[in-house]
Homo-oligomer: 411 residues x 2
């Protein structure tokens, strides 16, 4: 089947999953979890072929590789989604007009989701689980390096759902992993309601540029911490170290640090000293370099860079206004934090920063569907349309108005 045929097959099966009840959807989730465990030998052997054929760097191969533990985590993820509340059918607003019309706004599935992603087979299973629960059909397009793993996972899940009496054809995997295939998917407005790219900035940029299907942009996080002059320096140090060191390769990790000029001489040696000791490469403005001799001069580009590694850029600023201006000019709109004991500074920062998540005195590492209590997520949206921040179940739905009358017509 061509990519276009695959997308239209998902669409043809979208109505059935959209109107499935919670009991049926939970039962499908349980069957999917069972399938991942029961077929683990086949899945691991197909994954081993992918891994053997892969010539990419070790970090890439690590994300591609599956083992029993990772399969068990996938199955556990599906069971967690099973335990979450079903968002479909929820009435989010209701009112009656003076003419007697009773209007309800009801949560409904989006329809058909397309997911374009890289070589992480767990995305395949996450996406299937989230789409089952939200009543969405899904077209999965992973990268060529993971095609055997993805095929084995999808085949296992669909076979078990079929054996359990459910039609699994709302789940479709694109086996054409060429660039042309992906671009066809991006133009498939007739069948796809939304496209979610998950992966590198380059992948996301391509999808955003080429897609005529509405896109939910996820991922890039050039996250900032701003240490305001009233900050508790010990707290600031903790928050910065956590943001930079706890997991440097993820989108909510810290990439840039701003410090108030008034406290820079006291604060920078403590905070940057600890980062330096932890092996972080630090670039900074002139003032920063003057205070901490181990800091290299930053280029303008450094302040735009999402390192995703043990690197950080530093700048001394005059006040919270200047901090907000710098952040809004350089950020990708993901997560930013102010460390402060001033209510006014906190208020100014949270009002003026234009990012999905704005923190006062806590690590940016909390921007995450699980940490926020959503139970599951499909990435972090950094766009302003539809959904901003972690994409939980609720964010994978749309709404419709259901209006009941007794013959009202318009005057």
């Amino acid at each position: 089947m061509t990519v276009v045929e695959i997308c239209s097959r998902a669409k043809a099966n979208a109505a059935a999953i959209a109107t499935a009840d919670t009991r049926a959807k939970n039962s499908m989730l349980a069957l999917a979890a069972d399938a991942v465990l029961a077929e683990s030998d086949t899945i691991l052997s197909e994954n081993a072929k992918d891994v053997r054929a892969c010539t990419r760097p070790p970090q890439f191969v690590d994300r591609l590789s599956l083992d029993k533990k990772r399969l068990a985590d996938m199955a556990e993820g599906l069971r967690q989604i099973q335990s979450l509340a079903d968002p479909v059918g929820e009435v989010t607003q209701e009112w009656t007009l003076p003419n007697g019309l009773y209007i309800r706004k009801v949560r409904v599935p989006l329809g058909v989701l397309g997911i374009i992603y890289e070589a992480r087979p767990n995305v395949t299973v996450d996406a299937i689980g989230l789409c089952i629960k939200t009543g969405n059909a899904v077209v999965l397009r992973g990268s060529k390096e993971a095609i055997r793993s993805n095929s084995a996972l999808v085949a296992a899940v669909k076979a078990r759902m079929q054996a359990g009496g459910y039609n699994p054809e709302f789940i479709q995997l694109v086996s054409d992993t060429t660039r042309e295939g992906a671009e066809k998917m991006m133009r498939c407005r007739d069948s796809l309601d939304v496209l979610i790219p998950r992966g590198s900035p380059a992948l996301i940029q391509t999808v955003v540029e080429k897609s005529s299907v509405p896109v939910i942009q996820t991922g890039a996080g050039n996250c900032h911490a701003y240490i305001e002059k009233t900050a508790d320096i010990a707290m600031a140090k903790n928050i910065v170290l956590n943001g930079k060191l706890q997991r440097p390769s993820v989108c909510n990790a810290l990439e840039s640090l701003l410090v108030d000029a008034e406290i820079a001489p006291d604060c920078l040696p403590v905070v940057l000293g600890a980062l330096h000791e932890a092996g972080v490469k630090i670039t900074g403005c002139e003032q920063t370099c003057a205070i901490c001799p181990f800091v290299q001069p930053a280029t303008p580009q450094d302040y735009f860079t999402e390192y995703l590694a043990l690197e950080i850029s530093v700048k001394v600023v005059e006040n919270v206004q200047q901090a907000c201006e710098h952040i809004n000019a350089h950020s990708t709109g993901h997560s930013e934090v102010i460390v402060t004991q001033s209510k006014d500074a906190a208020q100014y920062f949270t009002q003026h920063i234009d990012s999905a998540a704005v923190y006062v005195n806590a690590s940016t590492r909390f921007t995450d569907g699980f940490q926020f209590g959503f139970g599951a997520e499909m990435g972090i949206s950094t766009q302003k349309l539809h959904a901003r921040g972690p994409l939980g179940l609720q964010q994978l739905t749309s709404e419709k108005y259901v209006i009941r009358g007794n013959g009202q017509v318009r005057e």
Copy 2:
């Protein structure tokens, strides 16, 4: 200034309007209303030049033409927006995590809205009003036929805001009305957060195809009425006549009628007889033609057609399932109605129809921001992302998470 420079100028002034308080925004709305009235001579004289230069059909010229009454309506619209609640800053959800983090989800402006529209100068003023209230910067790109009118309106509003002590540069009008100019705007992701096309299906289609800026698709309405077998035929006739006749040129007008086979012989002569008498051209399926000799055979294309005129397509169906299948296959996802006295049929219809507004026993003509009680609207969204149905103030906002802690870091 080039289109790109104009968009980036709007963006440079977005933060000021985004953080303006309700009092300031209401004061700007009052100044804008005053300006439209105080400068009416200049505006009408510039509009007269547009009208004289226009070689398009009379219906088009009518939409372009302004007079004292239409200017008074514009000013009244601005004052109505002034009286509505400010959506910005509203806390839509809040919760505290077990670790003590307090999360609030807060409504914020989208940022910079681009509006591409045709020769209706009232859209210029509506868009300015809605954007002031929602704290959004706006880039207005009307058609070349209305450029003098739009320039005069925007100049009047901005001058009066400036005189009142407000910086009006968050409002920008694109004077380059070429196709190339519009296409540049569609690629202006760096400055525009969302693009809303308002106008003909061809305009909307072009924007959807060519835009890399996220689009909110509005407008097209191939709306259906389905008369179920238990329907009150007098009520059905009222609803169909209202949908087709009350204002045929708008998107929530009725374009297609489905009737249950069981009642078709009684129902069709009554309903179609009245439409026929009112001068409506009717095309129908074989059964419809057999029952009503004045009906012409429908082509498959007729069922996809949004006539926006005194024309309607008719089809006899077996049951509610077949009605829903036909509607979901042919509709543009705007508004549909079932006329029925059966709770089960109503339930099936409202659950299975995949459109923005689904009615039971009321006219589709109610799908409208004013009718729904939103007080103002920027068109009707027929897409599923971000906002579906009438775009009121709330739909022109995004949200951000504001998280307060006391030093929490991630384990």
